[in-house]
């Protein structure tokens, strides 16, 4: 009997191989690239849902830092007389609040992202990391809008950005790395330990005081700066104030410390996520 009449070619497409997970699996970032369109649609979903049936739409992204900046200006600037190191206190506060709100909200939202989409995890395969990353990217869109507004508010107060604005991407990226690292890590821990849902909001409050949002980072002096800069948000906010509202230049040493700690956080997050990811559907 001849095989000629039968389709003999193996079907096209990739071969998928399923095996028991090893202790150390690769980070499989290529997998994430494969599903980049899903990441795009999930990011879009976040934005669409957030602003559906809301009158002000995307302008909430603008209003939030503006309103908070003026409240901070009233209580900390006017009443408590906290010193600004870059322009009038409202501008100073807003330059800190814009990146802070992005990172704080990213961490809070991505921490609950896997648990929130549990029905997806138990039904369909896709790289699970798109869920926390989608939250971070959606808030990143808000961040870009908010930076534009910060620019305008600063101009109104007569503060213009210095040439350092060219280095803004360095600090923008640092903010993303920090948000993604903490978000990815906490989302995976949350699958196993629901304590995270409760602890994260509290931890963010504490983190706020360890970050120069309300006060200027010059409050911490000498070699303590390097310890302080282990919190990557220190350099993010110093960088934002330097680039956008004419604040003092941060030292290269502290920025390097912050970058190292943010990258360490990201790697820890990716490794932990990949190691536990395969069991999400069994545990969640």
């Amino acid at each position: 009997m001849s095989d000629a009449a039968l389709p003999t070619e193996a079907p096209p497409g990739p071969t998928i191989s399923i095996r028991p997970p090893g202790k150390w699996s690769s980070l499989r970032l290529g997998d994430l690239w494969e599903y980049r369109e899903l990441l795009y649609f999930l990011t879009k979903r976040e934005l669409q849902i957030r602003y559906k049936q809301s009158v002000f739409g995307i302008s909430w992204a603008v209003l939030q830092p503006v309103v908070l900046a003026f409240i901070f200006a009233l209580f900390f600037g006017l009443l408590a007389k906290v010193k600004s190191d870059s322009g009038p206190y409202p501008v100073f506060a807003m330059a800190g609040l814009v990146p802070w709100l992005f990172v704080a909200q990213s961490v809070a939202q991505s921490a609950t992202s896997l648990v929130g989409d549990a029905n997806l995890l138990t039904k369909i395969y896709f790289p699970r990391m798109v869920l926390p990353l989608g939250r971070v990217l959606a808030l990143g869109i808000d961040l870009l809008v908010a930076i534009g507004v910060l620019f305008v508010v600063a101009l109104i107060y007569g503060v213009t950005p210095s040439a350092a604005v060219a280095l803004l991407p360095v600090f923008l990226l640092l903010a993303f790395v920090t948000a993604a690292g903490a978000g990815v890590l906490l989302s995976a821990v949350n699958v196993q330990y629901r304590d995270v849902t409760v602890v994260v909001p509290l931890a963010i409050q504490v983190w706020l005081f360890a970050t120069p949002v309300i006060y200027a980072s010059s409050l911490v002096s000498g070699n303590w700066q390097y310890l302080y800069a282990i919190n990557p948000m220190v350099s993010v906010i110093n960088g934002f104030r330097w680039a956008l509202v004419d604040g003092p230049a941060p030292s290269i040493g502290t920025v390097a410390v912050s970058w190292a700690s943010a990258l360490a956080l990201l790697v820890a997050g990716l490794v932990y996520f990949r190691r536990t990811e395969q069991f999400f559907a069994d545990v969640i």
Binding site: P7, P11, P12, G13, T15, K52, I124, Q278
Partner: protein
């Protein structure tokens, strides 16, 4: 490369620890307490459970392959492993081509988003490219019959519309391997037909379909080859009719063990079913006839032979395919057994047996205030002989029916139903 299978499953097993089965997540403090408690001790043998053990099979290109088995046989676990939702504990799987899993219709639909937005999001979740969705968008909307509402948020859709849209997206996914779990049991009949038609098209296009169901009728209609799972193991694999025959045989074989020796019981054990028989007027018979009165008699013993209070009994009659025909329960029948002796026999009388001739199985249940104390599934086989249900002298009953009821016939003049409506009369009847 001739004849290389599209799916190759080799010795796949999946172990769960029992904690994982009942909500796996925990609080960090619990884990810490556990660690401290077990410090210095050897870690206690955790309760483990193999949902699947050493299962191997292959599926060729263009085949429609069915996986059947009772609840808890490991079907869903197998599907979850194949669709990469959960990893196997042992073994390996090779699949050639893109795999699309259709495990539950509408997973990932968001109520606030419009139909259009959901089609794109759901398509992306299922693994479709944006260009692909663009290309098939009109076809999807047409298949779902929701053209007018495509820009309305899905939360305003009826559940039927949501379902149609969700299935339409999934049905237009064109993977080389399509995995389907019980999706056909939903939706209205017309739409089910449409879905079945679509699945046949998919299969005829040379794609491979893996179909998991406990609806044996659907499996036998759709699948050329099937595999039978039982207790996490593969019992047999082959042409679907052969596998289905084995399935019914396995049900009967299981039933063959005397009740006293059955170990597959659940419940606290405060009471044990010891023996089951069928009786007519106190005389034991093998098989009652359709339309005859008979008793299901179940002998039991309580632990320590002490009387028990507040016990309820149930007798279920099922078809060999597992559909429940009768569920007879003392509590719902309004029978209160305040106290039963330490050993005895429960009689459940079924007057004028309403079951057509055939083979059935019986499941026994006893509970104390709602908590099961003994429960044996497929405890006995019940063969119903032909009989004269209607007392008409015609023991030969029409086929294709699952229950017999008393009824009467008459032919009368038709006098309309609504006031004001013209009354039509058939002259031949008046």
């Amino acid at each position: 490369m001739s004849g290389s299978p599209v799916i190759e499953v080799n010795g796949v097993g999946k172990r769960y620890t029992l904690g994982q089965l009942h909500g796996g997540y925990k609080l960090l403090t619990d884990t810490l307490v556990e660690r401290v408690r077990s410090f210095g001790r050897r870690s206690a043998a955790r309760d483990e459970f193999w949902a699947l053990e050493d299962v191997s099979f292959t599926v060729e290109q263009g085949e429609t392959f069915g996986i059947i088995g009772h609840n808890g046989a490991g079907k869903s676990t197998m599907l979850k492993i194949l669709s990469r939702v959960t990893p196997p504990t042992t073994g390996s799987i090779e699949m050639r081509g893109r795999v699309g899993a259709l495990l539950e219709v509408g997973t990932g639909f968001h109520p606030e988003l419009t139909g259009r937005e959901n089609v794109y999001l759901n398509g992306a979740i299922l693994g479709m490219r944006r260009a692909e969705i663009d290309r098939k968008f009109d076809e999807i909307v047409e298949f779902a019959e929701v053209e007018r509402f495509i820009d309305t948020p899905v939360k305003r859709y009826s559940s039927g519309m949501q379902l149609r849209l969700a299935f339409a997206v999934a049905a237009h996914l064109e993977p080389e391997v399509l995995i389907i779990d019980e999706v056909l049991s939903v939706g209205d009949l017309a739409f089910q037909e449409k879905c079945l038609g679509r699945m046949e098209t998919v299969a005829s296009e040379g794609r491979t379909v893996l179909f998991v169901s406990h609806n044996l009728t659907a499996v036998s209609n759709l699948c050329e080859r099937s595999m039978l799972l039982q207790g996490g193991r593969k019992i047999t694999e082959g042409p679907t009719d052969v596998v289905l025959a084995e399935y019914t045989r396995s049900v009967i074989r299981e039933v063959g063990t005397p009740l006293h020796d059955r170990r597959d019981r659940q419940g606290t054990g405060a009471l044990r079913f010891e023996e089951i028989s069928f009786q007519v007027d106190g005389v034991t018979i093998d098989s009652p006839a359709t339309g005859s009165d008979f008793d299901v008699v179940v002998a039991y013993e309580t632990a320590d032979k002490r009387p028990l209070r507040n016990v309820s009994f149930a007798v279920q009659v099922l078809t060999l395919f597992g559909d429940v025909m009768l569920h007879l329960y003392t509590r719902t029948a309004g029978v209160l057994l305040h106290e039963i002796p330490g050993s005895g026999a429960v009689h459940c009388r079924i007057p004028r047996c309403p079951l057509p001739p055939g083979q059935y199985t019986i499941t026994l249940w006893a509970d104390q205030g709602g908590d099961p104390i003994d429960w044996i599934q497929r405890a006995a086989e019940l063969t119903v002989r032909e009989g004269d249900f209607y007392g008409s002298g015609q023991a030969q009953l029409p086929t294709h029916q699952s229950v017999l009821v008393d009824h009467s016939w008459s032919v009368e003049p038709y006098s309309g139903t609504t006031a004001g409506e013209a009354v039509r009369r058939d002259p031949s009847l008046t």
